[in-house]
């Protein structure tokens, strides 16, 4: 370690002070994404896959030591002979999924988003994507959904994965969408990367009569002043923020974009062109290389010039801590979103 690096490290940890008074405890890595008072549905991915597997004998499941933490254990219990425990080995997880796909199976391979996107990238891009094989990579802990620090926070997985040709990328919002998207990606002929919320997953979209369509963005509510363009659980947040802002007389629409790639550019352009709204993208991901920049590029390429703001995680290694603290700190809680929008409109 050189002197500069050493001094950076020392100043960082000597700057940290012992907490005084009441502080939040780091939530468990396996904890579900909680939403107070909201209905939840248990393990929507696992149960959808079991249901699918009743009629789809080609479906098999693989994991790299994380079945319990990706809800694949539900499938493993129902179909033990169609489940492959690959051990803590993400490279062979992806290569073997490719091999199974070559023999006519539809493999669902699960791990954490950090491990698929960072470690296994070469094995996904060459063995799976380059040959356009129907492997479904389903990954828990997307973005900032754990307080364990950068080793488990996949804040740049979309940026990494968006660079991969042939790959379809899904960032579902809630349990309803995870159930529907699991079925849709099973029918899709190519490779898919899907971000997963696991455990007790909130039911948000039920009340909107929502139906997931692969590749389609959908308006969940309309509004005159602001157009939120959001994906993943940030759509829960934008819907809640829209309700909060309504009380202050700010009328917000929410365009939910669960398919990050290929992006539904037609709908995004059409909605952005509708009458003088502030366009605000919101994503559980770094501001670099995710939904926000994809939307910005889409609008620029189409010559659509509208007021534009981006809500997302900073381009930084994030802190460890309790999720509610971190979501506030990094601007993706409902309160933080509401405050940002008010500031931009002021």
């Amino acid at each position: 370690m050189n002197k500069q690096e050493l001094s950076r490290r020392q100043s960082k940890y000597t700057a940290r002070v012992a907490p005084k008074g009441e502080r939040l405890a780091t939530s468990a890595m396996i904890a579900s994404l909680d939403s107070e008072g909201r209905d939840t549905i248990a393990a929507p991915f696992g149960h959808a896959l079991v249901d699918l597997a009743k009629t789809r004998e080609d479906i098999v499941g693989l994991t790299a030591d994380l079945s319990k933490y990706t809800d694949l254990h539900v499938f493993a219990k129902a179909y033990p002979d169609r489940f492959y425990q690959m051990g803590m080995a993400e490279a062979v997880l992806m290569s073997a999924a490719a091999g199974l796909a070559r023999e006519g199976f539809t493999p669902f391979a699960t791990t954490y988003a950090v491990f698929a996107s960072r470690r296994a990238y070469d094995f996904i891009i060459m063995a799976i994507a380059e040959e356009n094989l129907p492997v479904k990579i389903v990954c828990a802990l997307p973005g900032l959904t754990t307080g364990y620090g950068p080793s488990h926070q996949a804040t740049e997985d979309l940026a990494i994965m968006r660079g991969m040709p042939n790959l379809t990328i899904i960032d579902p919002c809630d349990a309803v969408e995870i159930d529907q998207a699991t079925r849709a990606i099973a029918d899709h002929p190519g490779p898919v990367y899907m971000r997963l919320l696991r455990g007790q997953v909130p039911n948000v979209l039920g009340e909107y009569g929502y139906k997931f369509k692969l590749g389609k963005a959908q308006m969940l509510r309309d509004g005159r002043d602001v157009l939120f363009v959001s994906s993943g659980f940030m759509t829960m947040r934008t819907l809640d923020a829209a309700k909060a802002l309504q009380k202050d007389g700010v009328d917000c629409g929410v365009l939910h974009v669960p398919t990050i790639k290929p992006l539904d550019t037609e709908t995004i352009i059409a909605e952005a062109c509708k009458g003088g709204r502030l366009v605000v993208t919101a994503e559980n991901h770094s501001v670099t290389g995710g939904l926000g920049e994809a939307v910005a590029a889409t609008l620029m390429r189409a010559g659509v010039h509208v007021p534009f703001r981006q809500i997302g995680l900073p381009d930084a290694f994030l802190d460890a801590g309790a999720l509610p603290t971190l979501h506030d700190q990094y601007g993706i809680s409902v309160d933080a979103v509401t405050t940002s929008v008010k500031g931009w409109l002021a």
Binding site: R16, R23, T63, D65, K68, S151, H152
Partner: protein, 279 residues
């Protein structure tokens, strides 16, 4: 420049490590306490018998490096570093809290004495190879220790480092594997560790020893043999440990990767530990 040896017994050190870990687990009401209790004896030997370091200067260049690959074992290493005086005892209550220097997963930027950021498994041994090469270049006689888990041996990158260490004849590298036969989804020996572990390392060219990691004398002997071995080759100690060691009612619980402890059981575990306090 050797660290001063005290006359406190290793058993007493291991007891203190277990106690510190239980106190931290109680703060969060959770934690990888099963692993911490299991590995406490190995850490006692590491920090109070084998390693050379200065408690008040964790960056001292003459220190033996101790790389913790397994970020979730941070609770155990904090417990050992508190007993060693590297971390202050009065921060126990901050474990895993917002703004703490002791986050639940071990990271170099947060904690004095935490050499590397672990948690993404399969990194530690490779970094240790580079550090061992660097120490040799500097003619620094320090050892690099890397504590790995059995599950981590499934990662291909670990085996790249295993082969590299032999290529470079890294006799200053000591890998310490905590083999508790428990990874996230179940027993390691039902996943990728179906062949005896020490034989694999031996076949790859390492000086390999396998010991009962909860037998203090055996662990001491293995660390001594690893340090004093004459061969120009890296060394590994496979430590077979028992999850939850030292707290019988937890040892008897159905063992999983993440042992559940009810709120009232922390005090019970601490009182059981206190009853068996060694001299």
């Amino acid at each position: 420049m050797e660290t001063e040896r005290s006359n406190v017994s290793l058993e007493r050190r291991a007891w203190a490590i277990r106690r510190n870990a239980l106190l931290m687990g109680e703060v969060q009401g959770q934690g990888y306490i099963g692993q911490a209790l299991g590995v406490a004896d190995v850490l006692a030997v590491s920090y109070f018998h084998a390693l050379t370091y200065r408690a008040d200067d964790p960056e001292w260049d003459g220190r033996d490096r101790f790389y913790l690959s397994i970020g979730h074992y941070a609770i155990a290493l904090y417990a050992a570093m508190i007993e060693a005086g590297i971390l202050p005892e009065d921060e126990i209550g901050t474990y895993g809290m917002d703004d703490s220097r002791m986050p639940m997963s071990g990271m170099a930027a947060y904690t004095p004495g935490m050499e590397i950021t672990g948690g993404s498994l399969g990194h530690g041994l490779g970094i240790a190879v580079g550090a061992a090469l660097g120490l040799k270049r500097k003619k620094n006689p320090a050892f690099v220790y890397n504590m790995l888990s059995d599950g981590e041996l499934g990662e291909g990158s670990t085996w790249e480092a295993v082969m590299s260490a032999v290529q470079w004849k890294l006799d200053n590298l000591i890998a310490v594997v905590d083999f508790n036969n428990q990874q996230a989804d179940g027993p390691t020996t039902q996943a990728l560790a179906q062949v005896p572990e020490a034989a694999k390392w031996d076949a790859f060219g390492w000086f390999a020893q396998e010991v009962d990691g909860n037998d203090m004398n055996a662990v001491v002997a293995a660390f001594d043999a690893a340090r004093h071995h004459k061969g120009a080759q890296p060394r590994v100690i496979i430590c077979n440990t028992k999850m939850c060691k030292g707290i019988p009612f937890l040892e008897d619980r159905e063992i999983t990767h993440f042992v559940r402890v009810e709120p009232e059981e922390w005090a019970k575990a601490l009182s059981i530990l206190d009853e068996g306090k060694p001299a």
